[in-house]
Subunit: 382 residues, 2 copies
DNA sequence: CTGAAAGCGCTAACAA
DNA sequence: TTGTTAGCGCTTTCAG
């Protein structure tokens, strides 16, 4: 059709209404602007509006321009539901974390959200709290909302998740490892680099008896961190007493409890590495309760470098893992699977780096020069 | 139609396909089960399936039963997008927080999520980071996704938000205050109760010179907390030096900086109350840097009682505000607006309570007995 | 109480 | 290149 000249008056073309099979006027529908209104106002068909909005390249630039102008005037935005229904893509990304109350995750979420929104995606967050039941429920929620992809940032690949999503052909990215199947990818983290630095740092200070408080070992990432620790110790010529390798759960409580176990040992480590910062903060607390000082009585190193690490007392020496990188890469990986055609060249995926950040929880071990003079002794708790 | 008898074999009724105007077989469509499949299998119309699923009371119980059974067998769940498109309700709730990296919010989010999911809603989270621009973008995101309601937990009512949402008749709940208009509500928090306890606690310990580090005062809630403090001081017969009332921003950095300002004062308070826990943790850090001890050199009280408060060194005395209550009440309030018919009786809405939790950051002021003996002195930083 | 049919607002064939 | 049109899967009148 094309009413050759575009309307030059701003007044909303008053006689506008449902053009198709409209017997009765819609009730209560005030000024809902939909694609039809835009089309009419721009003097084109709804198909053209749709194409213009979706940047289909075959649209006449002049028309596209006119459409966009009307879109601006009317402040129109497409109905996401309708779009999703017909296109099958929801532009929703799932983000599954293990525990939203662990400060590392909000930091990750923030970055993830930003990147996703930039790319036009909304995110659906779910927290598993390490509970099987929650995992099921949040998987179902994601499925129901028809997310286009899911980032499983629980630091543990749960076959569980994958199978459900695979059935619906929904791309999934994990951390550290993923099933070798299409539509799944993973982000590799170079735990060794940072942990090696940490162990070496302690060794240089004179520590030989170094303990490690792991995360829940059924999580791959937690196991990987522990493995990295053991390996680094060995490569440096140190061996860690079995008793000094204790399993925590990445929470404050877990850190506290684990440290209390360590304190009950007859032969205690002089330094402890933790699988994450929350664990380390829990350790600090246990030490505080036992009236022990960091780093005088025990050197402590965390992992993650959450913002708070700079503010603990004393400020926590820790291994930094950039959650910004993690988030960005996770989204990118998802995008790659969503738009395989995109010439984004599937850029190489180097490992996510980790590096030591020295603050004030590490120092000379007990028994070192300063203590020999003072003849300091350690209290342990029964 | 109605193939009178329900199929007794489990095998997917093979000849099933699009029943309406199906010229070509859908390509690649494997085993997508939609309402039609369920209807066919249950031997009823899709309308009945819809009604059964939505618990419309007029459905024959026997039929409903049959439908539900098939739903179970097929593991069917309705397509959210389609449902949203036609019904106009997305079953999506927006949750706007000021800063997701402030641990208080993840705790709130967790509770909110749980309640919302229980009620069949999904939540869309957005963090404003106190930036105007972000507020706009997240408002738009909520509008685009057609949320059914929004909880603005930024602790500051931004007319901004309300106007945009009001235009689309989307219910909004705020904290502390809301515009007097339909489709908006607010949660009242009884700041005074907890703050009064806190001030009194300090007074009893012997503190007279009590400072307050506020949040960003353009946030109503921050202003309310400060006002409560000033009022409590007065009612107890104390006055706070103007210099001791400093504005922070609810972040670690803000707390640290504010404390540094306080430390630069010739006449310093012996105790400080903070508008939130993060501020207090920042204060602890500033004190640590200045080589001052809590509570020996300064008594400190936070607000919120985030989980971490129990783990600071020393553990933080703080005023608890239950984020569980907050979340529950926010969702309920939203529900009330969404289903005005619901006989939920619009239960009374008592204020959210706050109460003091004494831990270890409060003690006798400097100058009290213990220090007189020691002749302790304070270092301040220039 | 149940079924047939009309769309919700949009995208994607297919035609022109 | 643009317009027409058929649905996406569901809820909801409106008849029966």
């Amino acid at each position: 059709m094309s009413s050759s000249s575009s309307p030059r008056t701003k007044k909303p073309s008053t006689s506008k209404r449902k053009n198709v099979s409209a017997q009765r006027a819609p009730v209560g529908t005030e000024n809902k602007i939909d694609i039809r209104v835009v089309a009419a106002r721009a003097g084109v068909s709804i198909a053209t509006v749709s194409r213009a909005i979706n940047h289909v390249p075959t649209v006449d630039p002049a028309l596209a321009e006119r459409v966009w102008q009307v879109v601006g005037e009317l402040n129109y935005f497409p109905n996401t539901q309708a779009r999703a229904l017909v296109s099958g893509r929801s532009r929703l990304l799932g983000l599954i974390v293990s525990e939203i109350t662990n400060p590392f995750f909000p930091e990750l979420i923030q970055e993830f959200e930003q990147v996703a929104v930039e790319r036009g995606y909304e995110i659906l967050i779910a927290s598993t709290n390490y509970e099987r039941k929650k995992m099921e429920s949040c998987t179902r929620r994601m499925l129901e909302r028809k997310v286009d992809g899911v980032a499983v940032m629980t630091f543990g690949i749960e076959e569980f998740f994958f199978d459900r999503f695979a059935a619906d052909k929904i791309p999934v990215v994990f951390i550290d490892a993923a099933p070798l199947r299409p539509l799944s990818g993973f982000l590799a983290v170079d735990y060794r680099a940072g942990i090696y630095e940490a162990v070496q740092h302690l060794a240089v200070l004179g520590h030989r008896k170094i303990g490690f408080i792991a995360g829940p070992l059924r999580l791959r990432s937690a196991a990987a961190r522990k493995a990295a620790f053991v390996e680094c110790m060995r490569s440096i010529g140190l061996t860690s007493h079995q008793d000094w390798l204790v399993e925590g759960d990445h929470t404050l409580e877990g850190g506290r409890d684990a440290m209390q176990k360590l304190l009950a040992l007859p032969d205690q480590p002089t330094a402890v590495l933790c699988s994450n910062d929350m664990t380390a903060i829990g350790v600090q607390h246990a030490l505080f309760e036992a009236d022990l000082k960091v780093p005088d009585d025990l050197s402590l190193i965390g992992f993650d470098d959450i913002h708070l690490a700079e503010y603990t007392i004393p400020p926590l020496t820790t291994v930094r893992m950039s959650c910004k990188d993690l988030a960005l890469r996770a989204v990118n990986l998802l995008m790659e699977q969503l738009q395989p055609e995109s010439a984004k060249a599937k850029a190489a995926h180097p490992k996510i780096e980790t590096k030591l950040v020295v603050r004030q929880t590490t120092g000379l071990p007990r028994g070192a020069l300063k203590d020999l003079a003072a003849g300091k002794n350690v209290k342990t708790r029964g």
